[in-house]
Symmetry: C2
């Protein structure tokens, strides 16, 4: 098999941990596999360099930041390569340029345009384990080093796996897979063996520390079999994220996600001017504010109440954007003490009664549901934040996710 | 003018010092000059990375060491560039690849084969100050990053200055120029304004901390006007190292060099087999031992005594090589308590009596001269080490170098 492995900053955070990663690679190699290992900078290094840059400028040029930050991954790739050589394993480190990752010119946040795999293929044919400096490529226009933004090393790994048609792409972190819910909230949470791309995307809050949505989306697009597993317990099989067809018997509900990072915005008695709601949401979109859930209730006097949710980070921007409409509504309030609980599962598509089970569970705990929204594979509810953990535990129980 | 400036590890050793280097560059820019600044890694960084590599392997691959070590200069170039941007100066950092330095494939000790200056020229035409990551290039065969070995950043600077026909190449260190002798020995030592390449090469021990012979040789070959000056006292003019013709009135003697790193090897009563001396020196050459000064004295019985000097570091190798000849000589001794004092000056070529003045000075101090060797621009003497400083001071005095 051709395996792409990716080791994040924590997994290569110290020299001992790099040695540990070398051991994982050696074991896989000894099992007869070809390997492309993508590495991040040693944890702390990138922040140190950013700090350095910030002592000179609060707004350093993106082009120079890429030159600066791309060095960390180069260091890790060379060190890991040296560690493997010492035990007689043939390796070569490769920069983003050598790997053939061509990107757009948007420094610090470049998008991958294409990957020329010929260099990697030649090197694998020569019997090398390839150690790739992740997070980086070169601009197709200027041939200058670029970086891929947050989660960039994961993206390098997934894109390489897709381009070279690897059998699997294993993302190693300090977490051994994706759980049915956050185990810190519900100790009975179980690690899933398999989950579909779409479920993973909807369960983002469960995987946020482990997998960026951007990488999952790319894996889905390129049909890359992704595995989330831990470099600290490599003997534990992780969670496979794959296409729905590969999951024979999907459970109706796969997991429960919790997002406390929500604010409920209430607009009371919105004037009945035509198009006012459209105008409000257009204004929010123009300010780059992501509106999540929306509910509108029409009162007897013809005036509507409008409820929607935004992320905590967008509060100020939203307050500013709403200034425009202060004469069109009787009152606006912002409630930070809410959270979003989501039930996710591809099985919902073909099963009924999933939602009513959730509502009943909430009712049994006397939890008021403020807003509900449903999609094909997800039911989300906005509830008071004080009930967050209780709601997660009840739902985990009701859908028997510990079984 | 087009100026190439080079700032070593100490000059960019902290963020404050990088800021200081930025100030030097801004002043030169404000005077209307075009600038290519070549930088080293922040002092300590390279050693840290070597230490890291050595925890994994006592003999890491040179190819990987180049990937590892070339990152330090990239970091400095980006940081310096960011510091200059902040004050509105247009800059671009460039890696060895972007600068167009093509080298041989000998990793960690590559030789520069050619420099394609087109990228630099275009960037200067666009009004940029170029900040070059020194010490590195790319292999002309494999396109892989290479490093240039000891003093590599100086070499980058000199080679770039030669290739792009810069008006001057200023090497900034923590020393403000080349002195007539080591000021720690003779406080009356004076900084020289100008010195020829050949004198500089012969005075290597005075300049060793400041300029590697390899760089001076390249400057001579490419006819680059080299200046040694300090980034800590940039207001002080340094020493210009240039071709002899550019120095109107060269003093007869320019400087006094001292080398304590010498061992005198004495072979007593060498058998009068034909070709035995040739055989001895051939054996030493085969063992890569640099023999400096040689004296042979023929005794009445036809047997010769042979004296020569080697560097301290070559003692063991020499002892081993001399085993072969133990039956051909009555006695071999190794005297570490000697040193070499050299008088250097291009003026010697056309002046007589320089040597006799030196011998007289030694005689006046009751210093025995063990070995003498002379070249066109240098007189070297081996004396007992205990007289080293006394000899330097007397000679400095005799040739009136403090005037």
């Amino acid at each position: 098999m051709l395996k792409v492995l990716k080791f994040g900053g924590t997994s290569v955070g110290t020299l001992e941990r790099i040695q540990n990663v070398a051991k994982i690679i050696k074991n896989i190699r000894d099992d007869g596999h070809d390997i492309i290992a993508v590495v991040s900078a040693m944890s702390g290094e990138t922040n140190k360099l950013i700090e350095y840059a910030n002592t000179f400028s609060s707004n350093p040029s993106n082009k120079e930041m890429d030159m600066l930050l791309s060095s960390g991954e180069r260091v890790t790739s060379a060190l890991l390569s040296i560690a493997l050589n010492e035990d007689g394993y043939k390796t070569t480190s490769m920069s983003g340029r050598e790997v053939g990752i061509f990107t757009t010119n948007e420094h610090t946040n470049a998008r991958i345009e294409s990957i020329d795999t010929s260099n990697m293929q030649e090197s694998i044919a020569q019997g090398n384990i390839i150690i790739v400096a992740g997070f980086q490529g070169v601009s197709v226009n200027t041939s200058r080093v670029t970086t891929l933004g947050r989660g960039g090393s994961d993206l390098s790994a997934v894109a390489i796996a897709g381009a070279i048609a690897a059998d699997i792409c294993e993302i190693y972190t300090d977490v051994d897979g994706i759980y049915t819910t956050d185990p810190r909230i519900e100790p009975k949470a179980k690690k899933m063996d398999k989950i579909s791309y779409d479920e993973m995307l909807e369960l983002a809050s469960l995987g946020a520390k482990v997998l960026q949505n951007r990488s999952v989306e790319m894996a889905k697009k390129l049909n890359v079999n992704l595995v989330s597993r831990s470099s600290f317990t490599p003997e534990v099989e992780g969670t496979l994220i794959t296409k729905e067809e590969n999951i024979m018997e999907a459970p109706i509900v796969s997991g429960i996600a919790l997002d406390k990072n929500q604010i409920r915005v209430g607009l009371y008695k919105v004037s009945d001017k035509p198009g006012i709601a459209a105008s409000i949401f257009q204004t929010l979109a123009n300010s780059n504010i992501n509106v999540d859930m929306i509910v509108q209730t029409i009162a007897v006097d013809g005036k509507a109440d409008l409820d929607f949710t935004i992320s905590t980070g967008d509060l100020e921007k939203t307050q500013k954007a709403m200034e425009t409409f202060k004469d069109d509504v009787e009152k606006i309030d912002y409630n930070e003490a809410v959270c979003k609980v989501s039930i996710v599962g591809v099985g919902m598509k073909s099963h009924t009664g999933v939602a009513s089970k959730a509502f009943l569970a909430m009712a049994n705990e006397n939890i008021n549901i403020r807003i509900i929204s449903t999609s094909e594979i997800k039911i989300s509810m906005i509830i008071d934040e004080k009930y967050a953990e209780l709601a997660v535990r009840s739902l985990h129980d009701v859908y028997e996710l510990d079984k």
